[in-house]
């Protein structure tokens, strides 16, 4: 868990979790709020679409809301938490342009 921003793979990881569940966005938001989350449904939608960066803590709350849904169906926490995301390469379409301050090129320097 971290208050720092998650890498770009956060959005795709959460998006994939939602797609694999039988939840809709409103149900996910309700579950997330039940865990103490404070984003609006619209902000959650933006995070899933990778249009809003999440802190590690925010990511973990959404991931855990999804994982509790999967747990009830016999699956063992398939959605990655923030600490697991850190070790992963961002998915290609979410990689920032090379000249970006936060892009792969700048990280390689």
């Amino acid at each position: 868990m971290s208050s720092e921003q998650t890498p770009p793979s956060s959005g795709p990881a959460l998006r994939a979790g939602l797609a694999l569940s039988d939840l809709d966005l409103a149900q996910l938001w309700t579950a997330y709020v039940g865990l103490g989350g404070s984003m609006t449904a619209e902000q959650l939608s933006e995070a899933l679409a990778s249009r809003r960066a999440l802190s590690g803590h925010e990511h973990d709350m959404v991931a855990h809301a999804l994982n509790e849904h999967f747990l009830a169906r016999g699956h063992d926490h398939p959605v990655a938490y923030a600490e697991e995301l850190d070790a992963r390469e961002p998915i290609e379409h979410d990689v920032l342009p090379p000249d970006s301050d936060h892009g792969p090129a700048s990280r390689a320097k």
Partner: protein
């Protein structure tokens, strides 16, 4: 008030529809809506000796939840078994969704089911699909049986269609209400869970001197390790505060 307004007396059918609309406003379940529609149907469709409702389940199978007579249920069931008859066809027919026969014994419209229904005493029938403007397959159908050949006239058929439209609207409203209730219950449960998790986070913050985010992480890791919901971990922690 204009003098002619005092002399206006609505007809029996109009009075029945007004009464139906009032009772449908109070109906809160699908079952109540269907019960009231069937009772009204018997009153306003003058040629109908029996009335029933066919409902299509999510798995595609049909059943008859409401009827005025046991014979109607039996004849509906025979249609479901044969996959033939006005109730079944009405749910598959686009447009007004009106399907029927003025003389079942000749078997023109329903070669297998018609003569068997006639043997049971029913000579004419009409079924109207519910949700008139919806595409097939429809939710179900309203079924009107008569013991007479050509027992249901043009007025009966028109009345049946208006009644089906009333039923469709009431059912749609009831279903929307049910969905709303489920969402409200889910949100209420989420708020309760949020409250318990808040209490548990407060305990951890106090005991361990950690931040709120760190307290959530402690609960989240415990939930993940134990394979139990985070709210259950939080509730245990909050309820056994003195023991921990």
């Amino acid at each position: 008030m204009p003098p002619e307004a005092e002399s206006v007396v609505p007809g029996a059918v109009a009075t029945e529809f007004v009464a139906l609309a009032r009772t449908l406003l109070d109906a809160t379940t699908v079952s109540e809506v269907l019960d009231r529609v069937v009772m009204a149907a018997r009153a306003v469709v003058r040629g109908a000796d029996m009335v029933s409702v066919t409902v299509r389940a999510p798995d595609g199978r049909f059943h008859t939840p409401v009827e005025t007579d046991e014979l109607a249920t039996q004849l509906d069931g025979l249609q479901y078994d044969l996959d033939q008859g006005p109730c079944v066809e009405a749910t598959r027919t686009p447009g007004p969704g009106l399907v029927g026969s003025s003389d079942l014994a000749d078997g023109t419209e329903f070669p297998e089911w018609g003569p068997r229904a006639a043997e049971a005493g029913v000579r004419s029938v009409y079924a109207v699909g519910m949700f008139p403007d919806g595409g097939a397959p429809r939710l179900g159908a309203l079924n009107f049986y008569s013991f007479s050949v050509a027992g249901l006239d043009d007025i009966d058929r028109d009345t049946a269609m208006v009644l089906a439209a009333h039923a469709s609207t009431a059912l749609a409203a009831t279903r929307a209400h049910s969905v709303h209730e489920v969402k409200a219950a889910q949100l209420q449960e989420a708020l309760r869970s949020r409250d318990v998790i808040g209490q548990a986070k407060g305990i951890l913050m106090e005991r361990r001197g950690i931040t709120e985010d760190e307290a959530f992480d402690v609960l989240r890791v415990a939930s993940q390790s134990l394979n139990v919901k985070l709210a259950v971990v939080a509730e245990t922690l909050a309820s056994r505060r003195a023991d921990i």
